[in-house]
Subunit: 256 residues, 2 copies
């Protein structure tokens, strides 16, 4: 039975998609069977794995409306041992569809439960919001990974995210754990970054991954090729960071 | 009659709040009467101007529900000649409130029209979404400024934003113009950045501000002090960039 991990933070641009795509791809290269679900109407995880808006036929929105089957929508082997359920801007319509449903927070988990046994890990890339789509992701998940930038606005948002996670734990999904905070786009030359890291360690009781993802230009270039960093430039610091993150993730899950 | 400018882009973390806070503050220092409306439940524009969640009494959400008057909510002189209508996480509830209203896209413009004559410029900092709150901002606005990062995911999002702007122009606000795209967090050392800039210039017909906002650590530090960059560190490159942006904005509006 595959483990479901949501990648969430309502703060924009903190590295949610970058973490989802590169951690999932790294685990695939380490011979785990992995699925990534793009739950963001921006469709960045889809395009970051080589599937742009124009070439997507079926998508997550069609699963939410029930218009298509999973087999129709699933794209196999976008990277080694990695499948994708893509999204396009159509997903914007899902918020309106979901709000009208009886079981509005559980729609995604019902979809995931149909395919969960085919994978070791399922990652859900969330949009920058704490709305109904992200609630669906947190309700389906066994754990949540929170990418955080070492900057003040990102720090301020962590408290609100914690509140939402506690709400989900008490009302919708008692199972949900915090897998860990991933410090991303870290630049050790910035005085600010070190200050924020210390503050995160003080105020939050949640686990923080030892592996820090440093700011690295190759990470920003990779999406333009449709490849994860490990396939775009294996020698880059970014590739090393994500490989280490994958090892640490497996270690924390007793799955080495 | 004040000009209303929305700062919008559904891509997260591209510099919307940074542009809204620092451009508005720069215009205030140039003796324009300015208002900034924080239309993001993250409340970053509010905290970036020294008003954190805990010390906010009335906010934009209370204006949308009609529970408070503008006089109750408005915070005067958060910076020279700059007033603020703040937000907190309460604003998340606005999306549900707005969707149920008859005139759902026009609620914000009705609020703004009550105070428009008191200001030269009114800026609206939008959240990273194309939902009902951002639609309200675009419907109230005379123009929209689009901060864009020189990165591939940000580039891909510009097409969708353009579609939304055209939709608003044809259905809700024929007046709406594109004031310009602001290239932000620019790092000239990155090969990627120069490629994306060229692409933006090729595919988009919209005006692009000459002034480019470079990546500058002082810009990232300023929000922790509650001050805009021009008051935090006037000698920084970031301060110069935003002062130039303010001059260019005034020139484009024949308001030197
Ligand atoms: N470690 C890194 N080094 C350099 N660039 C990075 C790094 N991580 C992410 N980026 C770039 O920063 C931008 C923001 O990252 P990303 O899009 O993954 O964030 P996000 O949280 O998914 O954004 P959104 O809130 O819009 O979904 C992207 O252009 C990405 O390529
Ligand atoms: N030119 C710059 N140089 C350095 N840091 C910057 C610059 N512009 C913005 N930042 C920092 O980058 C982060 C993202 O910027 P900001 O929060 O303004 O983007 P946003 O588009 O408003 O994000 P959101 O989508 O969450 O509303 C912030 O931590 C900000 O301090
Ligand atoms: Mg993303
Ligand atoms: Mg913002």
């Amino acid at each position: 039975m595959g483990k479901v991990v949501a990648i969430a933070n309502q703060k924009g641009g903190v590295g949610k998609t970058t973490t989802a795509v590169n951690l999932a791809a790294a685990l695939g290269l380490l011979n785990k069977q992995v699925l990534i679900i793009d739950a963001d109407p921006q469709g960045n995880a889809s395009s970051g794995l080589g599937h742009k808006e124009g070439d997507i036929d079926g998508e997550l929105y069609d699963l939410i409306t029930g218009d298509r089957s999973i087999a129709d929508v699933l794209i196999k082997e976008v990277s080694t041992n990695l499948d994708l359920i893509p999204s396009t801007v159509e997903l914007v319509g899902a918020e309106i569809e979901l709000v009208q449903k009886e079981d509005r927070e559980f729609v995604l988990s019902k979809i995931i439960n149909q395919i969960r046994d085919n994978y070791d890990y399922i990652f859900i890339d969330c949009l920058p919001s704490l709305g109904i789509l992200t609630l669906n992701a947190l309700t389906s998940a066994d754990s949540v990974i929170v990418p955080a930038q070492c900057e003040i606005y990102s720090l301020e948002g962590l408290g609100k995210l914690k509140n939402t996670i506690s709400l989900v734990q008490s009302e919708l999904n008692a199972n949900l754990k915090v897998e860990g905070i991933v410090l991303s786009m870290y630049d050790k030359r910035l005085r600010m970054a070190n200050m924020v890291v210390e503050t995160i360690k003080e105020i939050l009781t949640d686990p923080i991954f030892e592996t820090i993802i440093h700011r690295n230009s190759k990470i920003g270039e990779a999406p333009s090729t449709g490849k994860p960093i490990l396939l775009y430039d294996i020698s880059s610091k970014g590739a090393t960071n994500f490989l280490n993150l994958a090892y640490e993730f497996l270690q924390n899950n007793d799955d080495e």
